[in-house]
Assembly symmetry: C2
Homo-oligomer: 605 residues x 2
Amino acid sequence: MINRFKRLLIGRPMKSAEIEGEKLSKLKALAVLSSDALSSVAYGTEQILIVLMVAGFTAVWYSIPISIAVLGLLFILILSYRQTIFTYPAGGGAYIVAKDNLGVSSGLLAGGSLLIDYLLTVAVSSSAGTDAITSAFPSLHDHRVLIALMMILFLTIMNLRGITESASVLAIPVYLFVAAIFLLILSGVIKYATGGIHADVPEIGTVVNNISLFLLLKAFSSGCSALTGVEAVSNAIPNFRKPADRNAAATLIMMGSLLGIMFIGISLLAYWYGIKPNPKETVVSQIAAITFGRGIFYYIIQGITALILFLAANTAYAAFPLLAFMLAKDKYMPNMFMVRGDRLGFSNGIIVLGLFSAVLVIASKGETENLIPLYAVGVFIPFTLSQLGMMVYWLKRRPPRWGSRFLVNTIGMLTTLVITLIFIFTKFSQVWLVFLFLPVVIFIFYYIHQHYMNTADQLRINVQTDQPHLKGSTIVVPVAGITRVVMNSLSYALSLTDNVVAVYVGFDDEGIERMEKKWEEWNPGVRLITLRSSYRSIIKPLLKFIDTIEWKTAETDHITVLIPQFITKHWWQHILHNQTSLLLRAYLFNQKHVVIATVPYRLQR
Amino acid sequence: MINRFKRLLIGRPMKSAEIEGEKLSKLKALAVLSSDALSSVAYGTEQILIVLMVAGFTAVWYSIPISIAVLGLLFILILSYRQTIFTYPAGGGAYIVAKDNLGVSSGLLAGGSLLIDYLLTVAVSSSAGTDAITSAFPSLHDHRVLIALMMILFLTIMNLRGITESASVLAIPVYLFVAAIFLLILSGVIKYATGGIHADVPEIGTVVNNISLFLLLKAFSSGCSALTGVEAVSNAIPNFRKPADRNAAATLIMMGSLLGIMFIGISLLAYWYGIKPNPKETVVSQIAAITFGRGIFYYIIQGITALILFLAANTAYAAFPLLAFMLAKDKYMPNMFMVRGDRLGFSNGIIVLGLFSAVLVIASKGETENLIPLYAVGVFIPFTLSQLGMMVYWLKRRPPRWGSRFLVNTIGMLTTLVITLIFIFTKFSQVWLVFLFLPVVIFIFYYIHQHYMNTADQLRINVQTDQPHLKGSTIVVPVAGITRVVMNSLSYALSLTDNVVAVYVGFDDEGIERMEKKWEEWNPGVRLITLRSSYRSIIKPLLKFIDTIEWKTAETDHITVLIPQFITKHWWQHILHNQTSLLLRAYLFNQKHVVIATVPYRLQR
């Protein structure tokens, strides 16, 4: 039943050999891995304008140089990540690069930041998608959390179905979004060029009195939040079709170009149209309204924008399980993240991502706006570390033409470092949580690592010298009466050794005598030992008895406790029988060094 | 830790031999077993007056003959239950009497009614206690359910601590209540006799125009709700000190006398004072206010009345576990109700009563008023059946002087039958639920019985002919690598038999080859069989392999699957390791007929 439901939900299991078919073509990869980055276009320009408006409307012309600066940073990041892809074709992004070149701690810092970041992405995106829905249908406003959770559930199931299947479904809205924004920019530019727009905007270069460097930096850093998601490609190289590195690099460049054109296009139109940020209407919505009027085109663009904001989460679903896999492979996360599920995805990573982001949504009651700065810091820390790592890489190896590459990464590192610092200084009240979470996460990584190392040490044997050694055998069979189950268990025990002893725990003398007499009558060839329990506990006298046996024979014999157990036909009939055997198993397992064997007897009715 | 907390909560465990000390003296028994019945005094008269007021104030004089009729019924019930106690000195009340004389179905009907009734008692009483508290502290009104649950928790813990201990604590308020009501009646009678009261009340015998037989019957049946709880003594005979039957009978008579005097006293005062029922103030409160004025005495009576209403639940805590024990002994309820806990009470019965009544309180959101008629029907069905059973008993045995005893039970049976029918006809809209629950409960009783009978049939052996028979042994050891845990398991297996085979499940050819090579190098004297899993499942290929082994050797050999397992030092480290061995155990246990043995290896760090 459960199995059939699982099939229905995620599809038939796939053979390991089918994995090549699950790899992504460039076009599908672009859809899955760039939805996070591309969706930034919907709010990037707006973030810049909001900060600039603090200095008055005349300051909005600064949005153009700032957008160009963001574009420059994007260019550097793309170049630098392209270098990383070819240097580390097995994938891994910031975690691998930082770990390899800067040491384990830096790697874990980068990896931990990214993991937190992906969780936040899913929480923020699903809330953004919910906002879009509840704006359209205000009556649903009370069910925000529920809707966000349903979205997370939907994404989780889609991703459990497998990478290509989710890519096939989710590629359509991504490309629709790209097409829609290009159409919008093109129409806007034509309208502006043909004189259809005559907004009264401050000319570029106008002197603004009360602008400060701090404000400009803040505007710049806010604009940089549009660059989150750029690292996803380098994390996900193993998901690409062969040649994975070339395909990944090509995808990265495509993504960068699309993002750059769309971002600068929207910024230009916003400036030309003289658009002021408005809490009730987004900048993109204003541009679309002016360009197309509030007709069918306008609503299409609005709908697709909402959709892409929600699909940004899918990038996290592609990258989180891969990063978790790499951390697990290095023994910094639980082994379970290494297991490929029925559909060849890392299901545990997908499920954990879904669960934790659901918890985030519930905990924040669906109001995730405050998480956005947190999330930008979570990206720029690994950006910086990965660039620093690449700098060290070039310095150490010095391959031909390393100088220019070193330069690219140095510029990238310095810029992202500065942005990280700006984030921390300008929005400390919103990002301090990161400095609480990161040490905890890194501590957990180390703890897990230590545990695995300890375990391996203790389990390791020397194949030359360590060999199995034989011992005698003593089998203890606790019996509650003379039944078919007991007979079965005794048959089994006697087949293995003559050292079998049955133990009966009685509560009063009559009961014990009755049992002894009946046993004698039966005479199954096994000695019965009876124990009297004054406190009506069966477990405690048994444990004591096993102690005695251990003390007498543990050196010469393996001690087995053979628990007779019948299995009811239906599981719920179980509560009609006492659970002594289960309890006994649990106690023995946790406290004694004996082998525990269960001889099952299946009831037919 | 958990153990220490349990000690603190319910006290040290007690030896079985200490049970005599846990038995109740007459005075303690009266307190525990009569709190339900005596508390009825607080509302019995009021119930009669409320019905009569429908016909106008002149009809209130009928409360006197009706109260006398209730008293008469009480007298018959006491006489009849006294007879039952001596006839069935082992206890059991309605269930045993009905089962013995009328057949199993009638017994189960009586037993099921009483069990439901006890649940309702606890739910209703704890809600009544809560009402008293929230009347005094209205700010607590929003926490009604929580307060009621805390009360149930308190009673549950007190009863888990043991019968005598709860009796010692709870006896005080019961006797205080009796004393307070007697003082009230005495003062009231003196005040009336000395002419302190001159209420204008209808004389007895005044003609009332619009009174109907239906109304009078309804008033009578409402008054009879004061008799709930009378059966508790006969159910609880085993809890009495020796001679249990005499002590129980004496307690019953004491309870009947107290209840009778208090009930008729309150009814008389209410009539003399000309008291009208008032939804905002109880009849007892009005009488107390007139007698003492609203001074300290008045408040003491109010407080104690609230307390006794709440303590009525304790009667259910004494009777429910015993009745459940008797049903379990006859295999109509799960065995667990036969187990005496650390403090010699039937803890499972106490806990189940607490849990279910908590569920009732939560489900009804603490508004349990509507449950009261349900609860009266739940009492009068077993009343009727137990009297009918006694009638059959006398008819069959015909001991000396059986005629008068038969008469007592016949009158009792007819009266309680009529009251049951009146309840059903006058309050069908409130009691129909009983006719839904009772068949379900009785079905469950029969289902459980059938299951136990089936199980016993299947487990029974013939001690003359059935003997253990020896077989060969094949041991299968699933291995995931070459570790100390595996070595341990092989040592154990080889000590028992030479027929040991190790199985390794690999996901790809390289992995399998590597394992085979390493095994050869180690050469532990056990053949390794490798299986290739295309779907990355370890369990399925193993199950298939075990199928093959079963098919080949099940007739000649016992098959054991020996699962190597290491145990982490702390339980939460468990999630860092894959749970294949647990899963494998579960699958084997549920699907295969093989012995499952676990060789534990305890990690030290």
